[in-house]
């Protein structure tokens, strides 16, 4: 499996606190990799570093072999790394469709002057994008809510719209930040199925942070455990489940 994302010896320090300490990992195309660990273990910080919001103090992050650790977030996103957020990353005032269209932003070929002067090309580009957005929502059975403001949707629907938005440009790498939080178990099952299909059918590499251990264990190809900023385990769900260090990380510290 080609390495899609590679993190080498990443370190993130905030003043005296080392949030991420010498962490290395790989995610391949079509692979589902889960990042777990107790609160404060550095998972979100690592995520934010990969997405470009937090600078690395040491180490490298490579996407398709290209170092991206110094890139701005929008550049990383344009380069194929998309993400969802833990609480409400949706644009509340915008409709579901508009949210997806923002996801498509980098691929909508309407330039500033073209738009202002009303060129045919811009009009076509926008209409094409609109149609594509609707189709994407239809595929997830969300077509009927396309024109509703995002803040009026149910929690489950919002989660799904956020995923559609993240997938709009067909990104090779998807970062999911606690996608199951706040969802009831049946919804979690559905979510798990969606994530698995994304990886298997579309070859998207997925790195997710999750606290719902059963979900993680059931869908992940690999599980990485962080504790106090360090990686303490990296292997298949079964291997990790049996790893003593992991048990200690979760149970040995109050």
């Amino acid at each position: 499996m080609a390495a899609l994302l590679e993190v080498f010896e990443a370190m993130v320090r905030f003043g005296g606190l080392i949030a991420v300490n010498d962490v290395s990992l790989r995610v391949g195309a079509g692979e589902i990799c889960a990042l777990i660990g107790p609160n404060g273990a550095g998972k979100t910080t690592l995520f934010n570093a990969i997405a470009g919001y937090v600078p690395l103090n040491a180490g490298r992050i490579l996407l398709h072999g290209t170092p991206i650790q110094d890139f701005a977030p929008h550049r990383i996103a344009a380069g194929g790394v998309r993400r969802t957020f833990q609480n409400g990353g949706l644009f509340g005032h915008l409709t579901a469709l508009e949210n997806v269209l923002v996801g498509l932003h980098t691929q909508v070929e309407s330039g500033f002057f073209g738009v202002v002067l009303g060129s045919r090309r811009s009009g076509v580009a926008e209409a094409t994008a609109s149609a594509r957005g609707r189709k994407l929502l239809d595929l997830m059975d969300l077509g009927h809510i396309a024109d509703q403001p995002a803040h009026s949707l149910s929690g489950g629907q919002q989660r799904m719209v956020e995923i559609v938005r993240a997938l709009a440009t067909d990104p090779p790498l998807l970062l999911l930040d606690e996608p199951a939080v706040g969802l009831a178990p049946p919804m979690r099952q559905i979510l798990g199925g969606v994530i698995r299909r994304l990886a298997e059918e579309r070859g998207i590499g997925i790195l997710l942070i999750e606290h719902a251990i059963e979900l993680v264990m059931s869908i992940s190809d690999r599980v990485i455990v962080l504790n106090y900023g360090r990686k303490v385990a990296d292997g298949s769900p079964d291997e990790v489940r049996a790893d003593r260090n992991v048990l200690e990380a979760y149970l040995g510290h109050a």
């Binding site: 977030p73 929008h74 990353g89 923002v102 076509v124 149609a131 067909d170």
Partner: protein, 331 residues
């Protein structure tokens, strides 16, 4: 999956919005005979409404759509007006040739004002800073006497359009109508496309916007620049309308008037900007011209709007006429 076809989609533009679009063109057509119906003074007031349209549109773009508390609008307005005045007086240019430069100077000022926003200055810090910038510009108008005429101000020569002297308010009306229309149409185009969505996305959640590949810095500058451009054009219109520029016209009172326009009209709504410009310009005409009375009424009006109609008149319109719903009006 990627790259769609070039076929126009079927269900994208609901029939109602097309109706709204065609109705839009009815408005300027209906307005054409207006100068024949009004006297000079009434026409002057209508011209002032048209002048304020690009000003309100520009202001609303930054405060309503982008969501940044930038109080620098009056600075752009003044810069546009004074650019026109200076170019006409010092460089001998005819008025119509100063319109674009006034807009450009406004755009430059806009981009400059966006710098603190780029560095993360937000909310009331940005408000205070842009307020200080506006006052600084006013100080410049007062002090830079050789160029701006100082506190006494500068008299702007008679305006003309491509040689056609705008000696009556009626003639100015047509030129102003065209300018206002152009600004509204261009801004509408921006708002309906990925630019408008990007602005709203940045307003809603800047971090997430960046995560969608939107270079937020560039878009913030763009928004401010376009806003400055529109307002600068409004400034050029002001110079032609009023004929005399004084620094006192560009102070906090003016800021409040412009704020009233976008708040009464509806933050984030293009239609609201137009409504606000019209209503607020008309309002003082209804009341007696005692010094202070206008301010009092304005103040009370804004208070009432804030308490009872926080989304402005555009929201009322949207409620009354669902097919006419301006898609960029946000609750």
């Amino acid at each position: 999956m990627s790259g769609g076809t070039a076929k126009l989609p079927q269900g994208d533009a609901p029939a109602a919005s097309w109706r709204g679009r065609r109705a839009f063109w009815l408005v300027p057509l209906l307005l054409l005979p207006v100068p024949a119906l009004l006297n000079q003074y009434q026409q002057y007031v209508v011209n002032m409404m048209l002048m304020y349209v690009p000003v309100a549109v520009g202001f609303n773009l930054v405060v309503g759509n982008l969501g940044l508390l930038a109080f620098s609008n009056v600075a752009f307005f003044g810069i546009g007006a004074y650019t026109t005045g200076v170019l006409m007086l010092q460089a001998g240019l005819p008025w119509w040739m100063t319109i674009i430069p006034a807009g450009l100077m406004g755009a430059i000022a806009g981009c400059a004002t966006s710098v603190p926003a780029l560095r993360g200055v937000r909310s009331f810090y940005l408000a205070i800073m842009t307020l200080a910038f506006g006052e600084l510009m006013r100080w410049v108008y007062i002090r830079w006497e050789p160029v701006t005429g100082g506190s006494m101000g500068m008299a702007v020569p008679a305006p003309d359009f491509l040689g056609w002297p705008l000696i009556t308010e009626g003639r100015k009306f047509y030129v102003f109508l065209a300018l206002a229309l152009l600004v509204v149409i261009a801004t509408d185009r921006l708002l309906r496309t990925r630019f408008g969505r990007a602005f709203l996305a940045i307003r809603s959640n800047e971090v997430a916007a960046a995560a969608m590949g939107i270079p937020t810095d560039r878009y913030i500058v763009l928004c401010f620049g376009w806003s400055g451009f529109a307002v600068g054009i409004g400034g050029a219109m002001y110079a032609a309308l009023v004929g005399h520029l004084t620094p006192v016209s560009f102070d906090l009172t003016e800021l409040l008037v412009e704020f009233a326009m976008i708040m009464v009209g509806g933050l984030g709504s293009l239609v609201g900007s137009v409504i606000g410009a019209v209503v607020i310009t008309a309002a003082p005409q209804v009341f007696l011209d005692f010094p202070g009375f206008q301010e009092l009424v304005f103040g009370v009006l804004i208070i009432l709007v804030l308490l009872f109609l926080p989304n402005g008149l555009a929201s009322l319109l949207a409620r009354l006429h669902p097919g006419f719903r301006d898609r960029y009006h946000r609750e």
